[in-house]
Amino acid sequence: MERRKFFKSLVIGGLGATVSPILKAAPTLTSTDIKPETNIKDALSISRTESSMPGKYPGKVVRVNHSLAVTDGKPSEETVFEMLKESILKLTGESDLNKAWLQFVGKDDVIGLKVNPVAGKLLTTSHAVTQAVIKQLEDAGIPRSNMVIWDRREMQLHETGYTEENYPGITITGTECEDASGSYYNSEGKLYSEERIDKDHYFYADVEGEYDAYTMPFMVNGGKYSYFTKICTQKVTKIINLPVLKNAGSSVTLCMKNLAFGSISNTARLHKDLWHETSAYVCAFPPLRDKVVLNIVDGLIGCFEGGPAANPQFICNYNTILVGTDPVAVDRIGHDIVIAKRIEEGIQSEDKPAALKFMHLAEEIKLGVANRNKIDLTEVNLA
């Protein structure tokens, strides 16, 4: 693949930029009907566990709104704490917040907080949400040393303020990483990130990933295999998923996309023809399926166009958070919010059934509930 062609579809992040220009490829990215083969059957043959998706509350989603969640451009930590508290209590039916959290995690768990910093400072998982989760976990008895903030690119975590200084005592790590001098390679010419992928756990798809030397640090490997990060397979025992409420074309990038594309290597090859399949199928593999206990969509500041990158003119304050154990149901509710905004703003005229495809695929493999009529949505307006 030519570097130029690849760059057409490569995120601007990782190079320190925070704002993406609008860019749509001249031909629209429609997937073909004949799909490349994948190893989804391998995932489905592995027995499910008690904690497998969709978790404790299949089909249940709590949405909490607060009109002052974002004040003068900044999420309010106090308000967000209350919004999260209300969400967790409503989801679990508990009256005690600590007990509610302990439905999902134990004191010996190593908890991965999967944030989404890929669009840069403007549109990252907000620190208000992440700090609220950490505070409530701590109150429930989870030590900070058992918490890990992670994403694909360690560099982007740092750029967006996920630093040791801001999160003392918490491990901050990514699959793709560089050293202090900005090099992705060690003295032997090997990518540091190669040590961070687990070749025992992979998503196979019959699509070749070919990258030049410039691009490889962001993909880790080429070929037909996408390996899971060791953060998922070895480091953490539970995952709390913290995506941002964003569009991806006329679909959305929320819980499943954040997990799937954030947990494996060699992903660029999967965007064109397997976007929906990857978003659903990767979540069916045990490192995600059996470890994700909670999804909290940060909808304080989100976007309705230009996503998943940050195009400032399309960023808006949704002033909401969505919580559920079922990533499919949460995505379905988030989808409705984003599409309603797109229609209101004149970006599209109606919802498109094709945009829901990954949710339906996920429902077929029992990861959650995609049928809107079967989702139990509780909505709370705090102010």
Partner: protein
């Protein structure tokens, strides 16, 4: 009151005299020239290059306790600067209040000034950051000696121009602004396209008579509003919703 506010805005260059570049702390500054833009924004560069991108100076700065990223793109002509600007503006909170095209949104202030496209992004989105963005623009860009562009007469009906009028130079910009136009324009050689998004009308300047004839033959008669010597004024084909999943290949 509105006029008073506008008058105040027009005096901003004078107020800015009281400020100076020394009030700014530059945290990071980089310059990219020509195709070197790939080193800054990867695939996004193609769109800028279609508009004759020449040079970008990007700075992360601190000004009056707020953080900003100010990007100044130098394009090959004022039309091209307006073109790339026009593709980045959408429902401005405040638009075209000054001597040049400008658009304020919640987290960004943009302007097309002569051959420069300027983007000022403020991470906080605070009201203070928005106010200061005007000052920053005057500190970094000469707004007094700029070359102006003349919009075609048919494009002057939709005010403000910012976020409504788009200037397109090639397939990438067309696919961003009005993808349904591609089926008409495919294989046609043209120099400029002006699009009025509210009325959904477009002016196309084919490069020669042959391409003009080809275009006229291709377009349904009911869509043709006017044919002039150098251009054709049309009602756009029905806007098609895209059905993709965004462009974010990693």
């Amino acid at each position: 009151m509105k006029y008073f506010f506008l008058t105040l805005l027009s005096l901003l260059p004078l107020f800015a005299v009281g400020q100076s570049l020394s009030d700014i702390t530059i945290e990071k500054e980089r310059t990219f020239v020509g195709t070197g833009l790939y080193g800054f924004m990867n695939g996004g560069s193609d769109l800028y290059l279609e508009y004759g991108f020449e040079k970008l100076t990007t700075r992360d700065i601190k000004y009056k306790d707020e953080k900003y990223t100010i990007d100044i793109y130098e394009m090959s002509s004022p039309e091209n600067a307006f073109g790339i600007y026009s593709l980045h503006t959408f429902k401005c909170m405040r638009a075209d209040t000054l001597r040049f095209f400008n658009c304020l949104s919640a987290y960004q202030y943009q302007a097309a000034i002569g051959n420069k496209y300027v983007s000022i992004v403020f991470q906080s989105g605070s009201n203070k950051a928005k106010r200061n963005a005007d000052e920053l623009l005057y500190l970094y860009v000469d707004t007094l000696n700029m070359k102006r562009i003349a919009l075609p007469l048919e494009m002057t009906k939709e005010i403000p121009y910012s976020s409504s009028i788009k200037y397109l130079k090639g397939n990438l910009s067309i696919s961003n602004a009005q993808p349904s136009l591609l089926k008409w324009i495919e294989g046609i050689s043209f120099s400029d396209i002006w699009l009025a998004s509210k009325s959904n009308t477009v002016i196309i300047y084919p490069t020669d008579d042959k391409n003009m004839a080809k275009l006229i033959e291709r377009i349904p008669k009911e869509n043709i509003l006017k044919i002039e010597d150098k251009y054709i004024y049309l009602k756009c084909p029905k806007k098609e919703d895209s059905n993709d999943t965004g462009v974010f290949g990693f």
